[in-house]
Amino acid sequence: MVKLREMSTEEPFAPGHRLCAGCPESIATRMALKAMRGPTVITQATGCLEVATTIYPYTSWKIPWVHIAFENTAAVASGIEAAFKALEKRGVGKKVDVLSIAGDGGTFDIGIQALSGALERGHDFVFICIDNEAYMNTGIQRSGATPKGAWTTTTPAGTVIPGKPEFKKDLIAICAAHGIEYAATACISYWNDYITKVRKAIEVEGPAVINVLSPCPRGWRFDSSQTIEMGRLAVQTRYFPIYEIENGKYKLNINVIKPKPVEEFLKAQGRFSHLFKPEFRKEIETIQSWVDANWKRILQLCGEAGG
């Protein structure tokens, strides 16, 4: 775990950007940059963070920052990493850390091919997915990261279909299956765990992935003062287990001994409000069963007993 006094006092991500009040993306970004160990280059997928921090001619970035498109930030990182290596051979390059940031759309869905390719090729970079569980930048549409039952504008709470029918995709298992040295989940509400993981990921020689849960007040439908609290609820209900996979070995980082029922997490957010109608209440039981089974699965992978 990092200590406060060890963290960088630099603020390469400047305030004054146009992200919403209570937005977890600025929190996730600022914390990640606290883990910087030296010259760092950011590659950024299209998304809220990109549009709200760089409206030309303004920028919030005091370090090199590159946005190319939505689906390819890992491929862009590959090119930058390779170019720095090539320039070093020519004697004109510098050693830099390459940090890619994408939302769950740019990671779980449209970006997964480029990510998979970059992981398989073993480029030395860190990929952070700021997972707010939907396409928030275009106005709250479902993604592969959206949980079952959640309302989005493309999975509306209809009279027949109550929100998204499918469960969330297991991104970290997909990434770990590439045999990479480091993959982890994190949540902005547990800053120390998250920053420690980003630093660990940077120090890995090769690719590393972190999926950081980032509750979005607009998309999840909660008050903007509750962002951190919502992340805590996600973890304390075991909805979002916090673990890491280092060289194939799973480790549970935050054990939740006495979990709150997932209902507490669901009822705090407008995106699940339709599930509390009598005709859809059974969905909550289904979600609870999924949470229980998923927790058990993760515990087994971590070699932990009970739970």
Partner: protein, 392 residues
């Protein structure tokens, strides 16, 4: 002493890229370009180059990585064709708008459907508005020469635009010819290491690729147009310099017997060779025919083109691509647009030929010459767009 190697177009392109000492190659194999990638992989595997070779998982990622590498200040090469070029389409606009002087070999191939691996220009024509400089070559020698010149043109601070070197799939890409090659040192002298002030550099941080709304977007596009305007003079300058080195001078157009002709064929790529052979034969028979080979297709050298053909009575423009529903195919449209403001201009008709690798025979070319001669004589265009070599 001159060094001549037997090389296919693909091999010539790979060798030229190697001699240009590229820092990064990011590419994905596709017929008929594959050998460019395979040859380069051999150079890497045998330690003949210091290049970082990224074996990406798609053409989309190939171009994405090229853009990232180019923005870092590296000299970057890639290659593709057909579906691969179509998959890159989105990234090609970004490469040009972010002013990345990437050089790309394109072994032109038809686009699906139906799937077809043979040569036509549909692929590049589908991306012709993507802001890239586009050069078409006639044979392996031109492919080799053009790649070396391409880096010098693209990396010029007054240009900073990416460039495609187009060679007809199979007809050039797989045809072995004698290619006169330069020594490595001569290429190095002609093309020094890439230098750029605008790059990803932690000491001078830049925000690259920001959101740009109606208040500024237009100015970026306007600047791209300005950069394009600088290209023809740079192509000529580099072509002359290359000529001093090799005896092979390059220009934006190549004309053959056009000076005193009544009628001419206008075309791109390998077809120019066939057209010249037939023109030579018909000249001996007393017909005043010529050939205009367009070497620089984007930016279209309109002024040079007007000057070259202003005295002609008729032109047949050969298009190895079609633009369904348009008044003419791509090259035909450009020619007609270029000539429109002229008071006395040649009559122009468009000939669509050779799609999906359909052979264009000497007889076809002779028929087209006869047709364009008839138009020159009568002033009448029988068909504004005609198809040659297709079952009707």
């Amino acid at each position: 002493m001159k060094k001549v190697l037997g090389l296919t177009g693909n091999e010539a392109v790979a060798l030229a890229a190697k001699q240009c000492d590229v820092d990064v190659v990011s590419a994905y194999p596709i017929t008929p370009q594959t050998i460019m990638v395979e040859k380069f992989s051999e150079y890497v595997a045998n330690g003949e180059v210091k290049t970082e070779f990224i074996n990406v998982e798609s053409e989309h990622s190939a171009m994405s990585a090229c853009v990232g590498a180019s923005l870092t200040g590296a000299r970057v090469f890639t290659a593709t064709a057909s579906q691969g070029l179509a998959l890159m389409h989105e990234m090609m606009y970004i490469a040009s708008a972010l002013r990345c002087p990437i050089v790309m070999g394109v072994a032109n191939r038809a686009l699906s459907a139906p799937i077809n691996i043979h040569g036509d220009h549909s692929d590049m024509m589908g991306s012709r508005d993507c802001g890239w400089i586009q050069v078409y070559v006639e044979n392996s020698q031109e492919a080799y020469d053009s790649v070396i010149q391409a880096f010098k043109i693209a990396e010029d601070p007054e240009v900073l635009l990416p460039i495609t070197v187009n060679l007809d799939g199979f007809i050039i890409s797989h045809c072995m010819e004698g290619v006169e090659v330069l020594e490595d040192d001569a290429v190095k002298k002609f093309l020094p290491e890439r230098k750029t002030d605008f790059k990803i550099d932690p000491d001078k941080p830049l925000t690259i690729g920001p959101l740009c709304l109606p208040d500024f977007y237009f100015e970026f596009k306007r600047q791209q147009e300005e950069a394009m305007k600088n290209v023809p003079s740079k192509v000529k300058k580099v072509g002359i310099e290359f000529g001093r080195l090799t005896g092979r001078t390059y220009d934006v157009l190549h004309t053959y017997h056009v000076e005193d002709a009544d009628a001419a064929i206008v075309c791109l790529g390998s077809t120019a060779g066939t057209a010249r052979a037939i023109a030579e034969k018909m000249r001996k028979e007393g017909e005043k025919v010529g050939v205009v080979k367009v070497m620089l297709y984007r930016p279209f050298p309109a002024e040079e083109f007007r000057n070259a053909v202003k005295h002609l009575k008729a032109l047949a423009v050969l298009d190895r691509a079609c633009s369904p529903g348009a008044p003419a195919a791509p090259l035909g449209s450009d020619v007609k647009t270029a000539l429109y403001e002229m008071e006395h201009k040649p009559k122009v008709f468009d000939v669509i030929y050779g799609l999906g690798g359909r052979d264009i025979t000497p007889t076809d070319i002779e028929d087209i010459f006869n047709c364009v001669l008839q138009t020159a004589e009568t002033g009448i265009i029988e068909q504004p767009v005609m198809f040659v070599g297709v079952r009707e």
